[in-house]
């Protein structure tokens, strides 16, 4: 492999800057996931279609992408997932495992992408949503022996909807970043 020329060095420099991990105040780390799970159970009470929105997943993806540390992704995913499990009637760990993996992969992937790019964010969200749904389906199928009826088009539509929601949501969350990091 040839040594990198100037331009490439420049490019890498630019990427390194972008790949810097964002940092948040602890209170944000505590409240935002809690709030996302809360919205998940609160909104459908009034607006039934909001059931399709997966706030906890979007929050998991966001923090994992922005922290750029797989460790953080794992912990955020596991905590949000378990919280979601606690409020549902299924055994604990189903969402936990799925979201742990989502967090890990989102954090790993974030190292190679410009996580501030809206188009990339959109695509990543859609990808991870589908990944999440698929993994969940596999888990339910393999571990609990249940069969969930899945409609591919519905899932795709939901993925796009959630990704669309993710853009403004992520921008909002960007505002909560600590500037000096």
């Amino acid at each position: 492999m040839p040594p990198p020329d100037f331009n490439e060095a420049n490019f890498l420099e630019g990427r390194r800057r972008k790949s810097a991990s964002s940092s948040f105040r602890p209170i944000v780390f505590f409240l935002v996931p809690l709030f996302s799970v809360l919205l998940d159970i609160f909104l459908p009470r009034f607006v039934e279609p909001t059931r399709t929105l997966e706030f906890p997943l979007l929050i998991t993806i966001y923090f994992s992408l922005m922290k750029r540390q797989p460790l953080a992704g794992i912990i955020i995913g596991a905590v949000i997932g378990l919280m979601q499990d606690s409020l549902s009637q299924q055994p604990l760990g189903m969402f936990g495992i799925v979201k742990t993996l989502v967090g890990f992969f989102a954090a790993s992937v974030s190292l190679r992408f410009d996580v501030n790019n809206p188009a990339l964010r959109f695509m990543l969200c859609a990808f991870f949503f589908l990944f999440h749904q698929f993994l969940y389906w596999v888990m339910v199928r393999a571990l609990l022996g249940q069969i969930i009826n899945v409609n591919g088009f519905d899932e795709l539509a939901r993925a796009l909807l959630n990704s669309a929601l993710a853009l403004p949501l992520f921008l909002l969350l960007d505002k909560m970043r600590d500037k000096e990091a």
């Binding site: 460790l71 606690s86 009637q89």
Partner: protein, 378 residues
């Protein structure tokens, strides 16, 4: 930043975290037991927030909603004056206040009227998951809400508590597919079992096809399930048709008509004595079963056979014959086995209309002592 080192450490942490959750899952699946602790944490963390959110919503969102409506009105009717708007807005606000006051008053009235000891609670969230028919309420075990208690509104029953945490409880709605309760129709007094269907209708099961149930008839709780006190409305019949084994009766839950916000948890049902807390095991506090309601028509076993069921229990040919000979004897004034008049088993039977009693009398185990004179001993 510490990419490369982190990668291996991360992987091991990932493995550990996933393994831990798998073990958690396995424990639950294998022992069919819940890991309550984690749920308690989560619910305890969520419920105060939810309560705040619900408080905010109830006080502002509702008003804002009305305001949106008003804006629409204004756009359609440009001649409206702005102060009229303001007045209307005020009016709306007052109306909303009044409605809330009325609702609360109605509920307070119900609480006073009803002999049940209840506690008011607000719904603060639905259960996570697609088809979940579960809600969370903001009262938990510290307020005396226990697993197995009935949740109602003055309009009708809402569900039952399936889990209680310190600051909140999980309530399974009557529309949940695993929900069931005993019901009784108001007109025909037929006992059945109401079952949730996962949609917004409730199926009333185990009612014979021969029974008549009319659309519009209201089903009430029967108390048979030992959860709900007898006499609470469930809902009016929307559909009633012949089914394969049993009638297919669908009821729309009356409690859900006006949207659910405030509910009442029945701490003590009408015919329930004060729960003996000392005898309850502290580990799994559950509400005690209510005592059975006063017996009425529900005593006969349910006949699941598709053939038309006979009116008085199940009888074989033997019973029918015995009944026939008994009434024949009564018609002829014969006391079997006691001598005197000789029975004529081939005599024409008196038509049923003239002696309805004879064929309808319940079989008694003993014949009354003989009154006919006996032939003297030779």
């Amino acid at each position: 930043m510490d990419g490369l080192l982190g990668r291996y450490r991360n992987l091991s942490v990932l493995v550990i975290v996933i393994m831990a959750q798998l073990v958690l899952l396995a424990v639950q699946v294998k022992n069919n037991q819940d890991v309550r602790l984690i749920r308690v944490w989560a619910v305890t963390a969520i419920t105060p927030l939810a309560r705040v959110l619900e408080g905010i919503r109830a006080n502002t969102f509702g008003l804002a909603g009305e305001y949106w409506d008003l804006l629409e009105v204004r756009s359609r009717n440009q001649s409206m004056k702005s102060d009229l708007d303001r007045l209307k807005l005020e009016n709306q606000y007052l109306k909303a206040e009044l409605a809330t006051a009325k609702r609360i008053e109605a509920m307070a009235g119900f609480v006073q009227r009803s002999p049940n000891k209840t506690i008011g609670a607000r719904i603060i969230g639905t259960g996570a998951g697609m088809n979940s028919k579960v809600v969370f309420i903001d009262r938990g075990s510290t307020a005396g809400v226990l697993k197995g208690m009935a949740v109602i509104t003055p309009d009708g029953i809402v569900g039952k508590v399936t889990a209680s945490y310190p600051t909140g409880s999980q309530v399974m709605l009557i529309t949940d597919p695993t929900f069931a309760c005993g019901v009784l129709s108001d007109k025909s007094r037929i006992h059945g079992t109401a079952r949730g269907q996962g949609n917004n209708q409730i199926l009333i099961d185990y009612i014979q096809n021969e029974q008549t149930v009319l659309v519009g008839e209201i089903f009430y709780t029967s108390g048979d399930d030992r959860i709900f006190p007898k006499g609470l409305p469930v809902g009016p019949v929307r559909v009633a048709r012949q089914g394969k084994l049993f009638k297919e009766i669908y009821v729309s839950p009356a409690a859900f008509d006006r949207g659910l916000e405030e509910v009442l948890v029945v701490l003590e049902g009408v015919h329930l004595p004060i729960p003996d807390l000392a005898s309850q095991s502290s580990s799994s506090a559950e509400a005690k079963l209510m005592p059975p309601p006063e017996a009425d028509a529900a005593a006969a076993p349910v006949d699941a056979s598709p053939r038309p069921a006979s009116g008085q229990g199940f009888a074989t040919d033997a019973d029918r014959l015995l009944q026939r000979y008994r009434s024949l004897g009564e018609q002829q004034g014969v006391s079997y086995g006691n001598g005197g008049r000789l029975p004529n088993f081939n005599a024409p039977a008196v038509p049923r209309t003239s002696a309805p009693k004879a064929s309808a009398v319940a079989p008694s185990p003993n014949i009354t002592p003989p009154s006919t004179p006996r032939a003297p001993n030779p």
